[in-house]
Structure formats: structure tokens, C-alpha cells
Symmetry: C2
Subunit: 395 residues, 2 copies
């Protein structure tokens, strides 16, 4: 209820509801600083962590559902180029900022910080484009196409870096071959899951027509989601990688015969689950922000440079669009990090290397700062840029 | 998916789906006996236990939603009498069976075994009546009215006995006054929650109209459910008592203005949640059945006598119906225990007294046996009895 309330308040201020949920979490997690009761027991509660993780898995499943493998294949070269530049540049900039300011950490920590800057959360941009009636402009088409590739690239990057860190933490010798093996495994899992899943999913749903009870679509879809999440975990990748692959594979057409005989379509039965569990994830991510870290020397500076790297890294991808497409609009549209950035930061906070989390509690604060600023700054900047495009087109 | 499959198979055999889910659990929990892999890690997993408990809470919330405080007040004297006799008799018989066969246990263990026999699961009966087109007969009206009171009485009994056991386990001196205090607390909580909840609920929903986002009905309803479950736990009662009270209090009319402006009614947003979590509960309850207990001396005998006590205790309540109402039909209709019996048995298995669970692993097996037999026997016996009533009425 608190998440709903805070979400509604920030939505009235023109911001996405997720920022309200995050803010509520920050407030709850830091009550003790203002003389309130400490909720440290909730922060470390296993129940709370499990529910939040289920929320993150269902969220990435939902993100995956928004596109299909066909969409992915149909993305043209310009959007693919934008996506690749928009992943590589912020990663390089993030790596650089972390190496400059946290020189004592290992190169794997720098790489993880870079990875946190990789993935765009296009939902915020899509809503702004929709509100402005601009979803059919060339820049919007490039942004929305790039977002499909961007999600996949971001998860591959996460899978690779987390795999390298886990292998290092387990004491494996990490030569070039070892890293190549992890890269191959990450690609093999994602594209293997998508390939085999696309083949199996329509056949499974056709078989499942033999089960007369209701709720089969929900049961089978969630089994696919949690099944692939579990396989991803077994393969040493993050469970969200599997959940995303499951979402990508599933298409409405697989279960249209079920819907014809009275089943609810998947998005309708998924909504109540995400409505309950996803806010738990965002509130928990907010609670992990210990704001007293902000006054530690160097943290504000690091947060500001990280945010600049995140923004500039995405602006650069506007430079590779075809002639005539507004560069700034594309760069600004790719800017928000939102939920995917938070999920990456949360995973980093729980990945251990040499007895310390790869994302320290100070770096976590800076990452959340980066997510909040890139997300909040997008709607006003993008609207301004869209208006400018409009005026220019008329001129 | 396994629960769906097994549910569909037993439904084809004319049995309620919940028995299939339970059976799947029994199979999974005893795979090792047949040379399969042991799933002991799943059985003791905290994640699995948490999800199952959420399932039980949502299930009792749904049971509570089926009636309103007004329905409760409107139940006539005959149905109330049937409910009271149908709770007291099986409790007394269950107490007696446990005292005879487990004489070494404390009187509190006997009382808990009695309590496990108290509550009817009227859902199974309701489905049989519906199928036979007999929901408007006098016997059906008495059964469905009695079920409303029966649920409340069963939960009060559970609250009292669990309260006494917890107090004893904490080392409290249990004189008559102490027990009276617990009885008063149980009644005060349930009727206090219903009274205050009925006053607050329509006002809260009216206030919540100010929040423009979707999902307010779901968020507020689940907050009420989990809030009262938490309060019940704080008051030393089982969380399901609070969840049931929340369901009882909530009425569709409280949020009709929300539904008018496009929100989903509660039952639609609750269904996907229960579809995911309730089978987890039933499968887990099945996994806790260690069938090798059955070959221990005395367990089969205890299970059979417990089941007879459960059946006979409910048949007796057919004797107090007004003249002209078919006695046997009412007695048979009150017979199934289903989910509520399982929840009680599960709570007993986790309540500790003197270092041992109040429901031992052998007694748990017998309780599940009792639930399965009373549930499976109801549809055929009730159908036969309804046909007999029909023939007699025509004669």
C-alpha cells in the first residue's frame, strides 16, 4: 500500500511510479537516521529477500514478453548499431571512472561497474513518446528497435562478468581461454534457450490443450519462466537471464487456442503477481541504500562522475544514426536505466570476491543515484528535444 | 505444472483437484522410498515453506471472502445448531480417540487432534450440490449456512488451543483463569477484527479513490489480509485467523466505485495469486507425509479410528435438523475436511511443546489420511443420498 501511495505521488509529479517505490524504500531503510525505528531486521529477512527476488524474476519475464525472437531478427542495422554503441560506450566510461576513483579495486569490479551502466530501461522513454504522440517518428523506431537488442546485450554482459567473478571467487585460473569459455557459455545459454524454447513452446501449449482445467496458460508460462531461471542459475548465470529468455520465447499466438476456450491471456494473469511482488523488489532495493554513505569522502564525487558516464555513454549512440534522424532525441531516449540498472546493482551487492561484495555499499548508493538521475532527467529532456525536432521539421 | 497435471487427472476421476496436488506432494516427498532422488532439501527449504504459508494465508482469505458478517448474522437457528454440534462432537470424539490410543501424550495434544476434526470444507459439498442442481433444497441451505458458522468456530477453536499450547510451551502456569484469558483473547481478536474491519473497510476504499493508479483494490485488499494476519500472529494466534477475518470483512460493495472506473474486481486479481501459491501449499503438505510411518505399529489403527471419529462426528449433526429435512444428507454434506483440516495439521506439526511437535509425524500421516478419506468419500455418498431424498420426496 505504501508503494502504491508513493508511486501515485511521484506519478502526479510526472515521474514513473517505480521512483516512488524506490524512494519509499530509501525512507524505510534510513528511518533510524531520523530517530525512527530501525528496520534492519526486515532488510536482512530471508522472506523479504525471496519475495523481492521473485519480483525481479517476474519483472524480467515481463520485459522479455514485450519482444519476440522475430522482433529481434527484424531490427535493422541502424538500430543494432545504436544498441551496440550504447552498450559499449557507457561500459568503457564506467570502467574508466571506477579505475580512476577506485584504483585499488580489481579490474573485475571496474568491469561490473561498467556493466551496471549498459542496459537502457526503455519503458520510461516509450511512455514519453506515447504521451507526445511520437511513437511513429524515425527516431522513436530506432530507439524502440535498439531497446530490444540493448536488453539482450545487457544481459549477456551481466552473464559474462558475473560468470568471470564467480569463477575467480571459486579460485579458478582466469586466462584468456577461461574468459572465452564463459563468454561462449553465456551466448550458448541465451541463444540455446531462445532456440529450443521457440521450438518447444508452441508444441507444449498445444499438448496442454488436453488438460481441461483453467489456469493452464498461467501454470505453463510460469513453469517456463522459473524453469529457465533455475537452469540459468545452474549454468552459473543470473536467474533473471533465464526469465528474460522465457519471456522472449513466449508469444500470445502459442496459447491463442487456450484463450479461445476461455482462459485468460498471460498478461492478465501475470499483472496481479507483478503488482504484488515487483514493488517488494523496488522497496527492498531502496532499503539497501544507506544514505549515510553519501557523506563518506569521495562518494558524492563518484556518484556524479558515474552518472555523467552513464548519460554521456548513451548520448554517444545518437551519433551513429542515419542522416536525417535527430541525434539528440535518440541519445536522450536511450538514457534511462530504471529497473535493469537496479537489478544489476543488487546482483553486484550480493556477488562476493575476496570476502567483499563486488559492489560495495558506497558504490551501491552511487549506482542508485545514477539510476534515479538518468530516469528522472529523461522525461523533461526528451520532451524538450521532441519539440525541437518538431519545430525543425516544420521549418 | 505438476500440480495442474495431477489435479486434472483426479478431476477426471470425479475428485477435487486439491487431492491431486496433495498426492503429487506425497509422491515427491517419498521418492527416496522407491529408489528415486531424495527431495529432503526442498522439504526443509525456507523459501518453499514461505511460499506455502503465503498460499495458506491467501486460501483462508479467499474462504473468508465467500461470506460476509451479514451472512453470518442471517444464519438461522437450525443451521447454527448444526454447526455447533458438528464442531463439538468430532472434537470430543477426536479427543477420545487420541486419549485412548496415545494415552502417554498431554491433554493438549488430545485437544489439538480434536480440533483438527472440527472444521468442514464446504467447497467440495457445494460443488456436488451444484452439479446435482440441489443448491436450493432445505438440506443444502442448512449445510451452506452451517458452513459459515463452522469456519468461524473452527478458527476460534484453533486459536484457543494453539494459544494454550504456546502459553504452556512458554512455561506459563495454566490455571482455569489463564485458559479463560486465552479464550477471551481469541474471541476478542476475531470479533474485534470483524467489527473494526467492517467499519474501516468501506471508508478506506472510499479514501483510496483519491489514488488514481490502477491496482488500488488489490493493494488495499492484500494489505488488509496480510495486516490482519500479522496482527493475529502478534496476538499469539495463527496468521490464517487474521486472513480469514479480513476476507469476511471485505465485500464487493466496498470497492464498486473502483470497479466502475476500470479496476478489476478483487476475485479476478486474487485468482492468479492463489493459482500460483495454493498448490505450493498442498504439494508441501503432501511432502510432509512420510508414508513409512504407516508401517509403524498402531499408526494404521489410529488413522482408521480418527477417520471414523471425523465422519461420525459430522453425521451426528444431521440429527439436530428440523423435522422434514433429510438428516443423512446434512450429515454427509458436512463431512469433508479438505484444506482447513490440512492447514490445522500443518500448524500442529510446527507447534512445539516440551521439545516435540504437538502433532507427531505419525499423527500427521493419520490426519492427512483422515482428510483424504473424508474428502474422497463425500461426492459419491452425497450424490447417492441426494438421489434417495429425491425418490422419497416423489413417493
Amino acid at each position: 500500500m505504501g508503494a502504491k501511495l508513493f508511486g501515485a505521488i511521484v506519478e502526479r509529479l510526472g515521474q514513473p511510479a517505480v521512483l516512488g517505490e524506490l524512494l519509499l524504500g530509501v525512507l524505510l531503510g534510513n528511518l533510524a537516521l531520523f530517530g525512527g525505528p530501525s528496520l534492519a531486521a526486515l532488510e536482512t529477512s530471508e522472506t523479504f529477500a525471496i519475495l523481492a527476488e521473485l519480483g525481479a524474476i517476474l519483472l524480467l519475464f515481463e520485459v522479455g514478453l514485450e519482444s519476440t525472437p522475430k522482433d529481434m531478427m527484424a531490427v535493422g542495422l541502424p538500430a543494432t548499431l545504436v544498441a551496440v554503441v550504447g552498450v559499449v560506450t557507457p561500459m568503457a566510461l564506467g570502467y574508466g571512472v571506477d579505475q580512476l576513483l577506485h584504483g585499488q579495486d580489481s579490474w573485475m569490479a571496474h568491469a561490473f561497474v561498467g556493466a551496471m551502466l549498459a542496459a537502457t530501461s526503455v519503458g520510461i522513454t516509450a511512455r514519453v513518446l506515447q504521451g507526445a504522440g511520437s511513437t511513429r517518428t524515425p527516431s522513436a523506431r530506432i530507439i524502440l528497435g535498439a531497446a530490444v537488442i540493448d536488453d539482450v546485450l545487457g544481459l549477456v554482459v551481466l552473464a559474462i562478468i558475473a560468470g568471470v567473478i564467480k569463477a575467480a571467487a571459486a579460485g579458478a585460473e582466469l586466462d584468456a581461454m577461461g574468459i572465452v569459455a564463459i563468454v561462449v557459455k553465456a551466448f550458448a545459454f541465451l541463444f540455446g534457450a531462445i532456440g529450443i524454447g521457440s521450438f518447444l513452446s508452441p508444441r507444449l501449449f498445444r499438448r496442454a490443450l488436453a488438460i481441461p482445467s483453467t489456469g493452464v496458460v498461467q501454470a505453463l508460462s510460469l513453469s517456463l519462466c522459473f524453469g529457465l531461471a533455475w537452469l540459468a542459475q545452474k549454468a552459473g548465470l543470473a536467474p533473471i537471464v533465464g526469465a528474460f529468455a522465457a519471456g522472449l520465447v513466449l508469444e500470445d499466438v502459442h496459447f491463442e487456442d487456450h484463450v479461445k476456450r476461455g482462459e485468460k491471456p498471460l498478461h492478465e494473469s501475470l499483472r496481479p503477481l507483478t503488482a504484488l511482488l515487483v514493488p517488494v523488489f523496488f522497496v527492498r532495493m531502496g532499503m539497501l541504500v544507506h544514505v549515510d554513505n553519501f557523506v563518506k569522502p569521495g562518494v558524492i564525487g563518484f556518484a556524479v562522475f558515474l552518472t555523467l558516464a552513464a548519460m554521456a555513454g548513451k548520448w554517444v549512440c545518437g551519433l551513429v544514426v542515419p542522416r536525417g534522424v535527430p541525434r539528440l532525441t535518440v541519445g536522450l531516449g536511450m538514457m534511462p536505466r530504471g529497473e535493469v540498472g537496479l537489478i544489476f546493482a543488487g546482483i553486484g551487492a550480493s556477488l562476493m570476491l575476496g570476502g567483499k561484495p563486488i559492489v560495495s555499499s558506497a558504490t551501491y548508493v552511487a549506482a542508485v543515484f545514477m539510476v534515479v538521475v538518468t530516469t528522472m532527467a529523461t522525461p523533461p529532456l526528451l520532451l524538450w528535444s521532441l519539440k525541437r525536432d518538431d519545430t525543425r521539421a516544420k521549418a
